[in-house]
């Protein structure tokens, strides 16, 4: 990109785009100091107010940062929490070897619910679902919230077993055929529902990443439905 002094686009706007391009092309790297106003004036034959205007817009956009007395720097993106080898079972509750590794909230019984019933293929009356929930914390900050729905008809005592501290290996011991072996989940971005916004500590209706869908047991039936809400700017899903 070259600056065009005869263009109808103001020079400060062209310079703003030029700096953004240089960042995106790696000429100015994250955390690096960019050339001073004087140097940019000289290099590009621009006036000081033009350069100042471009930089001040990029600062208010969060793309550049002024460190007092030291210069102007390219902002660093927040470090993201990687979810390595992400797959359909990554956020499963039943797939855990132990729930000591997560901050499990008290497991709740939730009544038959049309959206879930439809996924599970339940049409008549049934005893409802166990809802297991736990946050994804990293660096003292909430990054996501896992919810897992497990039919009471398949795991009648799950809630009691967990509140009495039964180990996961014992809970699963005679349920081999009903544990998840694969899944079919969707990754979507959508506005947070109110409860999700509260749990993730973000403003109402902010965009979130959601991984949701059914997990299938060896016998082909759906044994678990997951819905994981993720803070989109803090997470990286690694797919191999």
């Amino acid at each position: 990109m070259k600056l065009d002094k005869h263009s109808s686009i103001p020079l400060y706007a062209q310079l703003r785009e030029l700096i953004v391009e240089r960042i995106q092309d790696g000429e100015y790297k994250q955390g690096d100091r960019i050339p001073s106003e004087m140097q940019l004036c000289k290099e590009l034959d621009l006036s000081r107010p033009t350069v100042r205007q471009a930089i001040s817009e990029l600062v208010s956009d969060g793309i550049l940062e002024i460190h007092k007395g030291r210069g102007t720097y390219v902002s660093t993106e927040p470090e993201r929490l990687a979810i390595p080898h992400f797959n359909a079972l990554s956020f499963s509750f039943l797939n855990l070897n132990s729930y000591d590794e997560i901050e499990l909230r008290p497991v709740m019984l939730v009544g038959p619910e049309s959206e879930l019933d439809e996924i599970f293929g339940f049409t008549g009356k049934h005893p409802g679902y166990w809802l297991a929930q736990w946050p994804i914390y990293y660096d003292h900050q909430i990054h996501g919230w896992c919810s897992s729905y497990i039919p009471v008809s398949i795991f009648p005592d799950l809630g009691q077993s967990i509140s009495s501290g039964k180990r996961m290996v014992d809970i699963k011991s005679n349920k081999y055929a009903f544990l998840p072996t694969k899944g079919s989940i969707n990754i979507i971005a959508r506005p947070a529902r109110n409860r999700e916004a509260k749990m993730l500590e973000i403003p109402r209706r902010s965009f979130i990443l959601v991984a949701e869908g059914p997990l299938f047991a060896r016998n082909g039936s759906i044994c678990e439905v997951i819905r994981t809400a993720l803070r989109p700017e803090l997470i990286r899903l690694e797919i191999n």
Copy 2:
């Protein structure tokens, strides 16, 4: 959720949340008409202005829609384009059997570029990359934009071959060892870069979904780097 007339939260705000909950619980379904103002007044023992205030806020939030003369309806979410069996090779160029299936833009030669060089592990001088780009169109609307970078050192004639209409099967015929067999890509959500916003026809700095990373050939070397920018509200990645 129950309404609490003694709460410090105004009744219209409580009702707004109650309606959102009923939608989320599937009691009011997408595209369904919700009860009339009169019916809600009666059911919940509320005044008409309270009900009207709650509904008008939900309409301006896009959660409800008023169809003149017919009533108030739950808004339907836009249909999403599913990317079935999404995996690291889903947006690969070299993995295509034919480029007739995509709206390929003219393939460009792009110079050595630090961000890419780092991924490929190129340190010295090298002849650059072929950049293959194509949009993801669905229902006459742009849903995403695929970019694929392929080293000229591995595919010296790719640009010429494509502009002369050589078939993909012939381009790949003696390159068996250099075709992608697996990859390691990241899915992240981040603000669109200016070029991405233009290509996706969305406002500057809107959030987008990005799938990016290296693809590996049989011989272990990186043969392609993909960067796919997706409109987050229009796409659903299916992971099996």
